[in-house]
Subunit: 356 residues, 2 copies
């Protein structure tokens, strides 16, 4: 709990949700926790500004609902183009869209966007419990309909070193980090006195995961090396190596013709395709299950996604893979108090689930 | 000393410059420390890619010199436009120019750009001692003519808290940091339950220093607030405050008519002009010498520049203000061994000084 949340807790005489109950606690946080304007329309609260949240925000009729959008990102990322922004073909800003541009009615007084994380959903009281992204100030928002579009998180499959040493590619900030690292490695590789082995390591980019993101990134980088870097610095372009590591097969969710086409294109562009399972990632090198040790200057990790700890914590039914279970109208499922089996429940708070 | 430099030192049997002498040490670092190609032309080494270094790089005839440029930045920053990139009018990339675009001959094999810091100049041996920016790998470069264009560094005047809590505005990375902080503060300010005082603090931008950078930044931000933010979020635009603090007067190096015009424009745009001297900067607030305490959400520090520790360390004559003294052909001055002097000395290594 951050300092400001502690101060609030002190102001309430040390009493929190546990002793006061959600409704009293939310009320005790002060009148400022309530929204400034009530038009009499039902309030739609959308959690998240990814594909699901942004699409709903765009399509919803602001004459029928008052809208509150809560997300740690004030923009949507157009993910198919994010790989291009790593090599400067596009600027990161060109692959993001502010949520206020997607739904201009957010500028009306009854609607708002809040830069915050959602920590819990209290279905009995129809309240979401949130904290601001930076200083963790706690607040509650009342909803009539709740849309949960908080997305997924990258899977590491418990492989040691992935979090510490590899770079993900999901947000605009990730692409800036990758670009900075590439420029840094190129700079370091040209220093006089650099050993050939170290130079080779610095100029080796490893991509783990042959899904759409990994394939896009490897392809974009290979194009950049052949078409741009070759003119800028032929020495460095010649020595750059790109390796794509995949445990199963490239683009496994696509059909065989597309997979074959992608493999051909990547190979021709100079990308080394390696079939293997990563056992451990260490600083500057990774090890495969077959014992091979591969030094790298940059390792991009993109092996698929799983449910977030937030969605796992929600009091709704889950699928076998840990995702929120929904009915054919995307309503979340809940169990009745008497133990009868999952059914979509309007009375748990009209929750929708948008995401993968 | 970083790990890799230590390894080198070990490889040389623990002997460094002190025991071996510069020439033997440089030689012992290996043949890779020498440049790949010698055309017989004199080698011009330029330290720095700011205004001085970039201008020389652009104007030099690559048929007369082989060129090595050494700088921790691979680009020049067009500083007059950097304030615009803080509020998104321009992208940071649009106010920078890669040094290889400024002098395309850098792509020829005999010329090169090295992403590194210069640590020392050994005039007797005509060698510059450098280390790579990221891992500190040490290397030497031989020069025939040396141009020193390493620029200046921001002055804090020894005021406590400036380094820790304020943000400078000199590099492209600074402008990205400022933009990120502004967006973050705007997000935090709108969280329900935020106290009015804290909201006011988050929306208060303090600029210390009324020189060109401070004035440009305050003006750009005021324009953005009135013209863009007012449409996007009228509530927030109304509550934003910008304060410019200057100890002496605005744009003191310009003539009276320009100073008056700038003050009028800034005041009309809603910038508060405060005459005062900062005594201390603390997290979230600063204190003036007159005792006034001013809370801020962002404090941009731009109170002028002084000599860098690198230029102070150079074995050349200095001016009263600690800058390198030069003759009318920009050659550095040195004292003769017999104490006569200062005179511009070709034989100390043909050093030029470009900068302020």
């Amino acid at each position: 709990m951050l300092a400001i949340a502690k101060a609030f807790s002190r102001a309430l005489g040390g009493r929190g949700i546990e002793t006061l109950g959600v409704r009293a606690y939310a009320k005790a946080l002060g009148d400022q926790s309530t929204l400034p304007l009530s038009t009499g329309r039902p309030r739609l609260v959308i959690l998240g500004t990814g594909w699901g949240g942004a699409r709903l925000a765009r399509d919803i009729d602001p004459k029928k609902f008052d809208i509150t959008i809560i997300s740690p990102r004030n923009h949507m990322v157009f993910t198919p183009l994010i790989a291009s922004s790593c090599v400067g073909t596009l600027e990161p800003r060109s692959v993001t869209v502010p949520i206020t541009d997607i739904q201009p009615a957010l500028r009306l007084p009854q609607n708002n966007f809040l830069l915050a994380e959602c920590d819990a959903v209290h279905t009995q009281d129809r309240l979401v419990e949130c904290s601001s992204t930076h200083d963790g100030l706690k607040f509650f928002v009342q909803y009539d309909v709740l849309a949960i579009a908080t997305g997924s998180q990258g899977s590491t499959f418990g492989i040691p070193g992935v979090t510490e040493y590899t770079m993900p590619l999901r947000d605009a900030a990730n692409s800036t980090d990758i670009r900075t690292r590439l420029i840094q490695n190129w700079g370091e590789s040209s220093i006089p006195g650099r050993s050939p082995a170290e130079r080779a390591r610095l100029l080796h980019v490893c991509v783990v995961g042959g899904g759409p993101t990994g394939v896009e990134f490897a392809g974009e980088l290979a194009d950049f090396v052949r078409k741009d870097l070759a003119k800028l610095d032929p020495n460095r372009a010649r020595d750059m190596r790109i390796t794509l590591i995949e445990a199963d097969q490239l683009l496994s969710s696509f059909d065989a013709r597309l997979r074959e086409y992608a493999a051909l294109k990547l190979t021709r562009a100079g990308v080394h395709l390696v079939k293997g399972i990563v056992k451990e990632v260490r600083k500057d090198e990774l090890e495969l299950k077959n014992g091979a040790v591969i030094p790298y200057g940059l390792c991009v990790w993109s092996t698929g996604v799983g449910p977030t700890s937030f969605s796992l914590s929600l009091p709704f039914e889950k699928t076998m893979r840990g995702r929120l279970a929904v009915d054919d109208r995307l309503r979340v499922l809940a169990r009745h108090a008497d133990g009868r089996g999952p059914t979509s429940l309007e009375d748990v708070g009209g929750g929708l689930y948008l995401g993968r």
